[in-house]
Symmetry: C2
């Protein structure tokens, strides 16, 4: 490994690095001084890129690491058993996990049935959003259910806004509706730069499943 | 809740939905038929948006759910104890976790010391990348170490390309170098739509920490 080690034999580079880092530190310190409020935040991850649900489940792990209890409702998905589901089922006292039944809507092609299921799942979500013992609630793929108008967006907004003050909510899925983006604190658009699928590689357990 | 329930009393909408879902299903089935190869994938999450590291930790949870063993090296970060670290330390037989010492580089302003630490962390990563018992390796914030040239990118590429065939690697952090994007299978650019920080809300445990 030694021959490839990057060396810093130029004092200029060291000095430039020091000055750049110092400016960066000042900037960050000022921003930190300005941001002092604590509250439950609404985080939305949307866009076509890979990482929306996995980011939500990473926040579940983070919350558990801080001793919080967590609620999870998975909308739309459900036909395929996933790694995150079997993993988080290990902690029934810490994670309340509800998976909406029977697969993607394009597998069922039955709007009435999809709608009943989505609304039943929302009833579970709603209960979580009124439970102050839950520090974080993940509503995985909710955006898809909203996009296909399986759940009323105004109902969702009302329930989100009346949740406990310190409860965090993470909402994932492509095509987040503008009403939701409006009330969210943090919104990330995940863009595809490239995807393994397009290179003929199927969904890999541990990565996509 | 009943008064807000969305009803489907228009058969046209049901029929349109059915046709649209059928077309979608055909498209997806064709794509699935084309993607049949299995291999260890390299996933890169980059950009300025929130969700890069949490997505990596979500994939760690997924991999554990499939019974894999996982390796994690956290580059740059380390001064602040994080939720993900305390959570995944619960599983010492399943997760090998290495956190690079002492905080962000802009807190140290000492390039020589940063470089030594980053290279020591890479030596741990390299060992994981030659261990076929690890199904997934997360190199969290590696891109930052590459951006500040604390580790040689060619060394990283060489070690990634010589890893076990079925091992997945997830690399996170702003400003992924083009050489890394070139060899990756899946790359997501996470864009900021909005961030709680800009609204005066500090980093919240369970969400950012």
């Amino acid at each position: 490994m030694k021959d490839k080690t990057v060396t810093t034999d130029t004092p200029d580079l060291d000095e430039r690095h020091r000055r750049r880092m110092q400016r960066k530190k000042e900037l960050i310190d000022a921003k930190i001084a300005a941001a002092q409020r604590d509250c439950g935040v609404i985080v939305v991850t949307t866009g076509n890129g890979k990482g929306k649900s996995s980011s939500g489940f990473g926040m579940v792990a983070r919350a558990l690491g801080h001793g919080m209890k967590v609620g999870v409702v998975q909308f739309i998905k459900g036909a395929v058993p996933t790694g995150e589901e079997s993993f988080f089922r290990r902690f029934p006292d810490e994670v309340r996990l509800h998976v909406m039944g029977e697969g993607y809507t394009w597998d069922t092609q039955d709007r009435e049935r999809d709608m009943q299921r989505a609304q039943a799942a929302w009833a579970v979500a709603r209960e979580m959003l009124s439970d102050p013992s839950l520090g974080l609630v993940l509503l995985d793929e909710l955006n898809i259910a909203l996009k296909y108008r399986l759940i009323d967006v105004q109902q969702v907004i009302d329930d989100l806004l009346s949740r406990p003050e310190m409860q965090h909510v993470v909402i994932t899925g492509r095509a987040a509706p503008p009403e939701l983006i409006e009330i969210a604190h943090t919104v990330t658009e995940m863009g595809v730069v490239k995807h393994a699928f397009a290179q003929g590689i199927r969904a890999q357990p541990g990565v996509e499943l």
